[in-house]
Symmetry: C2
């Protein structure tokens, strides 16, 4: 993959291709080419980090209207963190475009998670500078947010706490009950029901009672969210 | 001050005044008025924090083209932190507009730095939602960034390190020399000169040798910045 096909594949078109290339330039490469005054991606990474924080914050704020600030903050930290950004970077094939120094290449720098996470942030920073916030948001909507939607971060979401906080604000109580156990012993699944006061408001299935309750709370939150809108 | 005069004073006009009021609503007030379903400012604070991070990052990125990523990050952390946000909040008179619960009011909550810093962030979040990023940036440019420009954060800026990093990238060396000491013993001031290789590129004055060198490095960086543009 080259920069041309990368841009075509992800439907972006940089006005300033130098900026695009700078986003992929590790400091080890810039150091090896000092005379040509090549700029590395570190300052772009600084900017991109903030662009990404806002894009993800806005996405979560709008997408999860019932989630508390604490829960939102936790989820954001799970999305904007090195392991996630590394994953996005590899998914997009960014590792193939990185300019790194010879020493760094020899020691496997091209696949180093921290380096690739930085490249992802630097790319976001470059896109923001070259175009604007909305264009950057569109890129993320097409290429990154779907990963969030398929539940890749659901391990970080504590639906029971979210629901608890929400119903407490209304002065109500939430409770759970295991209403069914299915499957043979070695492959047992539980079904939990969730109640607000005495009203049944969702069921969930899981390999543990806790997981079943989390799924039930999630369904219940989704239902409440639809009612509120 | 009421919300009307606050908006007039700072030249903002909310389309959705509820959102403006929500930004000033501490959770203790919302808890005391549960029946009227008043929303507190916590989710707005989550969003505002990210808006502020990006606004400040962009401001620093553009304003300090020679500053390294490490230096930018340090400076941003010094601007987007509780003591600074508390100061901005008080400067803008936000403390007078806060809705807090009776218990919180009785224990001096209205002047609590953390509470006021949160209100500042929530206001920024509300402005962003009600309008857009550019409008929020304009508000900050008029009312907050000037505080940065007058050097309120210069204690956080290590000009000597910035200059060092910059000249090293060009393969050059920087050095300092105390060229004068002025004033009587009890009010001594030092004058430092800064050299890149052997070229004199700035002088600075200070009450300690270190301070004088920092000021000299700052002058030198400003000169280099002008040359680069």
């Amino acid at each position: 993959m080259d920069f041309q096909s990368f841009q075509e594949k992800y439907n972006v078109k940089f006005k300033n291709e130098q900026l695009l290339k700078q986003a992929f330039t590790h400091t080890s490469y810039a150091n090896e080419h000092r005379k040509s005054q090549i700029k590395d991606n570190e300052r772009l990474e600084f900017l991109g980090d903030a662009v990404l924080e806002l894009a993800v914050s806005q996405y979560l704020y709008r997408g999860y209207p019932l989630m508390s600030e604490g829960e939102l903050t936790k989820l954001r930290a799970n999305i904007v963190c090195e392991p996630s950004l590394h994953k996005f970077s590899v998914q997009l094939g960014m590792d193939k475009l990185v300019y790194i120094g010879k020493g760094e290449e020899a020691t496997g720098g091209r696949s180093r998670p921290a380096l690739l996470a930085d490249v992802f942030e630097a790319f976001i920073g470059a896109l923001y500078l070259d175009q604007n916030f909305d264009a950057t948001l569109n890129f993320l909507k097409s290429n990154v947010f779907p990963t969030i939607e398929v539940g890749a971060f659901s391990h970080a979401m504590d639906y029971k706490s979210s629901l608890q906080e929400f119903v407490q604000k209304q002065g109500q109580q939430v409770s759970y009950q295991i209403v069914n156990e299915i499957g043979p012993d070695h492959d047992r699944q539980f079904v939990a029901a969730c109640y607000i006061e005495d009203r049944h408001c969702g069921e969930g299935k899981g390999r543990s009672k806790k997981e079943a309750e989390q799924r039930a709370a999630e369904r219940c939150l989704t239902a409440l969210k639809q009612t509120e809108q």
